[in-house]
């Protein structure tokens, strides 16, 4: 079984910007270990000459006419913002 350490879990949680408690880190280490072990059965497959599929349909880029359209009104955009001031979304300080 692939072991995922608590430090690895904390590293991944940080990458995902997800706050987790020590208890959760322990639980996730165990559960992710089990899921990853299960997923490693894919190693039975010889995929050396197989192209990856990111998208099932054969699609090509479609370009639309570059015509300006009105954007969303500021009031609408701010309607769901948890905090705003002077028509802008407010967040805690980014720089000390």
């Amino acid at each position: 079984m692939t072991k995922i350490t608590i430090d690895e879990v904390k590293h991944v949680a940080n990458l995902a910007r997800l706050g987790i408690t020590d208890e959760e880190a322990e639980k996730f280490a165990e559960q992710l270990g089990a899921i990853i072990t299960f997923a490693e059965q894919l190693n039975e497959l010889d995929t050396d000459n197989v192209e990856p599929t990111s998208h099932v349909l054969d699609m090509k880029n479609v370009m639309r006419e570059d015509i300006a359209k009105p954007g969303l009104p500021v009031e609408e955009v701010l309607k769901n913002a948890p905090a705003h001031e002077y028509g802008q979304i407010k967040v805690p300080a980014i720089i000390e």
């Binding site: 991944v12 299960f38 894919l42 497959l45 955009v77």
Partner: protein
């Protein structure tokens, strides 16, 4: 007898003969919700006042050209991950508890154009991650056939509401079986269209390369009408396909003579309950009698689908759900001094367990050092799984099997082990990975719980899927059974 025992085309006729009004239909919905929804708990939000007003204005249009559309005046329920302007859309997550969308999903615009009436928003597993609705951030939905069983998921509310007669039909979404599995568990008809058939604009993204919106209905004909209304190219969704939309209802000929059916041995093997297996064999006999022929085939990479799916869908989800950061909309943690803490605390407090687990799995699979071993490997496995389907479809018109290995399970019985829960989707997931269409239609009962027959077709060949489903439905009456409630 409920009005919703009629198929939609009959309701349409009743409306135009003035035997009923649109307001009657809307009344029927809210009356039934009043009667049973405290038991079933399918709805998260009702839009009663607006629905009743709309019904009145539509009643004034009866008889005019504007009322000719078949879906005119029909009440509908919408899964709560499909955004509806000025109607709360939560994805059953605390992080979106008070989210009030400022635009409509393209499918909702299509519904408005068809003049359906949105009754309310339906419960689901949080962000569509789950197979039982036990992962909803707000409430559990119960299976109308037995309130101790799950309705399935993630579109559990959408399937339960239709089965309970609260709405004649609903919209769900399907990433790994989330329409077909609850349709099977609740004894209703659910279709996942071909990837690209229906616009995903305004469907809150879970796994963008797999997600599709589709109809859940009481019968195949209604399903075809509803898919007709929501299909087609959308400039707002670059993955919606520029492919002609055929007339799906015209495909319902009842004729399956000479139709070639493939039955994958992997779909009737280990883990599939005997009664489920038997119901599929019985269904094949029905189709055989109608002139179809079937043979056993192999989809050799089926056993790798589950692992492939969880790596890919979780990876895509970890990227898609990064937008929920407490800045522009949704829940914001009050406990944060810095921006990074704001992100972390908001997400820690706003997301449920299963969502966190999948974000973690996806972030891990995409992280430096693991990308090739997990994410890219899964993308390659997906190619092999897709090729299995292509090979079979060279010789056969449809693939038939069960929708799920077992009927609906008891609430609480699988919640503690994520892997056991994931195994429910083993027969539906390959269809999403291949991007092909699949339907679940009622095909029997096991200990009073409904079973579903899955019919899978070629890319953009929903017509054949519907034709087979309809022919089978005509010869059986499973779809006419109703839960006692």
């Amino acid at each position: 007898m409920s009005l919703f025992d009629h198929k939609v085309s009959d309701l349409h006729e009743l409306l135009h003969k003035k035997e009923i009004t649109v307001s009657d239909l809307v009344d029927e919905s809210y009356k039934r919700i009043q009667e049973v929804d405290d038991k079933v708990q399918a709805f998260l939000t009702l839009d009663e006042e607006r629905a009743r007003e709309t019904a009145k204005s539509l009643d004034n249009k009866i008889g005019t050209d504007e009322s000719k559309g078949l879906l005119f005046g029909m009440p509908i329920g919408v899964k709560d991950n499909i955004v509806t302007k000025d109607l709360r859309t939560t994805c059953a997550s605390k992080i979106l508890e008070n989210f009030d969308p400022i635009y409509n999903a393209t499918v909702v615009d299509h519904l408005h154009k068809a003049e359906t009436i949105t009754i309310g928003k339906l419960n689901m597993d949080e962000f569509a991650m789950g197979s039982s609705n036990e992962n909803s951030g707000f409430q559990k939905t119960f299976n109308p056939w037995n309130l101790e069983k799950v309705p399935g998921g993630s579109s559990g509310g959408s399937a339960a509401a239709v089965a309970a007669g609260e709405v004649p039909f609903s919209l769900g979404s399907d990433t790994g079986g989330s329409i077909r599995q609850p349709a099977s568990f609740c004894g209703v008809v659910g279709l996942k269209p071909t990837y690209g058939r229906v616009s995903r604009f305004g469907l809150v993204a879970f796994a963008s390369s797999l997600d599709q919106i589709g109809p859940i209905t009481r019968n195949v004909e209604d399903n075809a009408y509803l898919l007709q209304a929501i299909s087609g190219l959308d400039p707002m969704d670059s993955t919606s396909a520029n492919v002609e939309v055929p007339n799906f209802v015209q495909a319902l000929t009842g004729d399956v003579k000479g139709l070639r059916i493939a039955v994958p041995k992997e779909y009737l093997g280990e883990g599939v309950e005997e009664e489920v297996r038997q119901s599929v064999l019985d269904a094949l006999k029905v189709l055989e009698k109608q002139g179809a022929v079937w043979e056993e085939v192999s989809l050799p990479h089926s056993k790798y689908a589950l692992a492939t799916y969880y790596l890919l869908s979780s990876s895509e989800a970890s990227a898609n759900l990064s937008r929920f950061d407490g800045v522009r909309y949704g829940y914001r943690s009050p406990n944060a001094e810095t921006l990074i803490d704001l992100y972390k605390n908001t997400r820690a407090e706003g997301f449920g367990d299963e969502v966190k687990r999948r974000i973690m799995l996806g972030t891990f699979a995409l992280s430096s050092g693991y990308y090739d071993a997990y994410y890219k490997k899964a993308q390659k496995a997906r190619t092999l799984i897709k090729k299995d389907f292509e090979d079979v479809f060279e010789k056969y018109d449809v693939i038939v099997g069960p929708t799920t290995p077992t009927p609906a399970f008891s609430i609480g019985s699988k919640i503690s082990d994520p892997l056991t829960m994931y195994i429910n989707d083993i027969l539906t997931i390959p269809v999403n990975l291949a991007g092909v269409p699949g339907i679940s239609v009622p095909c029997g009962f096991s200990n009073g719980m409904p079973l579903g027959l899955q019919i899978i077709g070629k890319h953009f060949d929903e017509s054949t899927v519907y034709r087979v489903a309809h022919a089978y439905e005509q010869a059986t009456d499973y779809h006419k059974q109703k839960p006692a409630l």
